[in-house]
């Protein structure tokens, strides 16, 4: 009798706590004001649409953005997602901070980067590749541009197809610099010396682009820092 009593108490406490958690979680995602709620057909994705009240009809453009976002969310994961679509079409995921969504541009399909435990989708892979290629192409331009220096010389003149740059061997001790140098430091050395230009900050977009291009030409090589 005594045992049963404690069991009932325990179950009751558990039920109350679960309910409390549910209430607080629901409160956490409660719409700020009266926002239009749209759910995916599987019921797992919920979007609160800023700028439209419950029952209000969306514009055709907005409806398309919402539809695209729902489709992308369905594609990338099976989990429940509660998100707010702001008026500027940026997306905030309310129930999972690990889902990172970039800003959505009006009229464009939302781009989603997180994979929520699922393999990368074709669309994601395409995005990774196209962004990588964009930086490689930018780096190729900088590499072949004599305006990086002051004397007409460009990187490719000594390094056609980025040959003899051996990115996989950095960082390594450079006798002439008397220290362990990174690839970016050697890039700057070339800019300052043969090209007689001003060195780039290590986070300069041109530096990142140069590094991306140079490194891309050594894809598949064994990483051998320190090798001469």
């Amino acid at each position: 009798m005594n045992k049963n009593y404690w069991l009932i108490i325990s179950i009751l406490v558990l039920v109350v706590f679960t309910f409390a958690i549910f209430i607080s979680k629901a409160a956490q995602f409660e719409k700020e004001g009266n926002l239009l709620t749209v759910k995916s057909c599987d019921g797992k994705k919920t979007i609160f649409v800023e700028g439209f009240k419950e029952g209000e009809k969306m514009s055709k453009e907005k409806a398309q953005v919402v539809a695209n976002l729902l489709m992308d969310l369905i594609k990338i994961c099976n989990q429940e997602v509660i998100a707010k679509l702001k008026e500027d079409n940026s997306v905030i995921v309310l129930n999972d901070a690990s889902l990172i969504l970039p800003d959505l541009k009006p009229g464009k399909t939302p781009v989603l980067l997180a994979h929520g435990g699922q393999p990368h989708t074709k669309k994601e892979i395409k995005l990774f590749e196209s962004e990588e290629k964009r930086m490689i192409d930018e780096g190729y331009k900088v590499f072949h541009d004599s305006s990086l220096g002051t004397n007409g010389i460009s990187c490719d003149m000594c390094h056609p197809d980025a040959s003899n740059t051996h990115a996989e061997t950095y960082p390594k001790f450079q006798t002439q610099l008397k220290k362990v140098a990174t690839l970016r430091e050697m890039i700057n050395w070339c800019i300052e010396n043969p090209l007689e230009g001003a060195k780039l900050k290590h986070d300069d977009p041109k530096m990142i682009a140069l590094e991306t291009y140079i490194t891309s030409t050594r894809k598949g090589k064994v990483l051998e820092p320190g090798k001469h």
């Binding site: 004397n151 490719d156 003149m157 000594c158 056609p160 040959s163 002439q176």
Partner: protein
């Protein structure tokens, strides 16, 4: 990169030993530094008077700054050839005097080369040509295709940088055309050719020459197929070689590659020239097997991997070729060395 070839030696010859060997031939002294510089050409029948000519190549000058590193470099080469004692019979310039074919670049180069004491023979490179299609170059230096005889050797200078018209259809400006051509690793680059007109001219020019007369052919691009992505290549090389095969002794000397490179196809020996401006790395494939590769250049030393050189013509009509590196031991590629090793029987590797 250096394929096990010891750094700072050339063909196993130490600089000191080379100088000892070279003593009594063409040896130069500049401020106490001895600089061997010459390319020797030699003949089988032992009937020639041996002689020597020197070379300077691929200066790639920019105008506007008299202290530009490439200006300093070509002046260093001019000082080298002027200090040769005895003087070479002539100095050959291997093309790419200018970087972007600008009139002031060519003029600057002309002025610097006018300080060369010996007679000078000029060849055109793509960097001289594609801004105004050689107009200024020809105005300064005369014909781009010609031949001459010297001490029993027949010399031919070709313009091997002719390419298919890539500029008319997209309406390129002269500078756009020039810059597209100046980019060695341009993936859209058209292949160099000698062209039908010149091949016809060559056939005709050689029709008057006996088959035992040693030939030395100058071309800016290598007259074989080495590496297409960098235009280390002449697209109609086989057709030009066919014209040269009937001659007993043929040596082709080319610029453009900025490195030590040796090839042999049947009876034709090919030698590259050093640049005064910068060395090219070796491409990932296609390096002719007779080549003694030079070690990777020290980027901290402007002159490393650069230089000039000489050609010694032996009494046999054969050629000994010397690469005169400014900051390493010279490399002599002798006729004996080339003839002992089996050259490739087919034109270079295809891409």
């Amino acid at each position: 990169m250096n394929n096990g070839f010891p750094q700072k030696t050339t063909g196993g010859i130490k600089r000191r030993d080379f100088l000892r060997m070279a003593a009594g031939t063409a040896v130069a002294t500049i401020s106490g530094v001895i600089t061997p510089l010459v390319i020797k050409v030699a003949h089988g029948k032992g009937k020639l008077e041996p002689f020597t000519f020197a070379y300077i190549s691929d200066a790639h000058l920019y105008a506007g700054n008299p202290n530009h590193r490439f200006v300093k470099a070509i002046k260093k080469a001019v000082a080298d050839v002027n200090s040769l004692n005895p003087q070479p019979d002539f100095v050959f310039f291997g093309g790419d005097l200018a970087q972007l074919g600008q009139p002031d670049e060519l003029e600057l180069g002309k002025g610097i080369l006018s300080d060369v004491k010996a007679k000078i023979h000029m060849m055109v490179g793509e960097h001289d040509w594609y801004f105004d299609m050689g107009r200024k170059w020809r105005e300064f230096f005369g014909k781009d295709v010609y031949s001459f005889d010297h001490k029993g050797v027949h010399f031919v200078v070709l313009n091997s940088v002719i390419v298919k018209d890539y500029w008319t259809a997209p309406n390129m400006t002269p500078m756009e055309r020039m810059k597209a051509m100046a980019q060695l690793d341009n993936p859209k680059g058209e292949a160099f050719t000698v062209g039908e007109e010149q091949r016809k001219w060559l056939k005709n020019d050689l029709s008057k020459i006996s088959k035992d007369t040693p030939l030395i052919i100058f071309s800016h691009s290598p007259l074989y197929k080495y590496y297409r992505p960098w235009n280390f290549w002449t697209d109609d090389a086989e057709q030009v070689q066919e014209i040269l095969f009937p001659f007993e002794k043929v040596t082709v000397i080319h610029g453009h590659t900025h490195q030590t490179v040796t090839n042999k196809i049947k009876n034709i020996t090919f030698h590259g020239l050093l640049s005064t401006a910068w060395p090219w790395p070796y491409p990932p494939q296609g390096i002719p097997k007779l080549t003694i590769q030079m070690d990777r250049a020290d980027p901290f030393n402007q002159f490393d991997g650069c230089g000039d050189g000489r050609v010694d013509i032996l009494s046999s009509g054969e050629v000994n070729k010397t690469y005169n590196f400014w900051d390493r031991n010279p490399m002599e590629v002798t006729f004996e060395r080339v003839s002992k090793e089996t050259g490739s029987e087919t034109p270079g590797p295809s891409y």
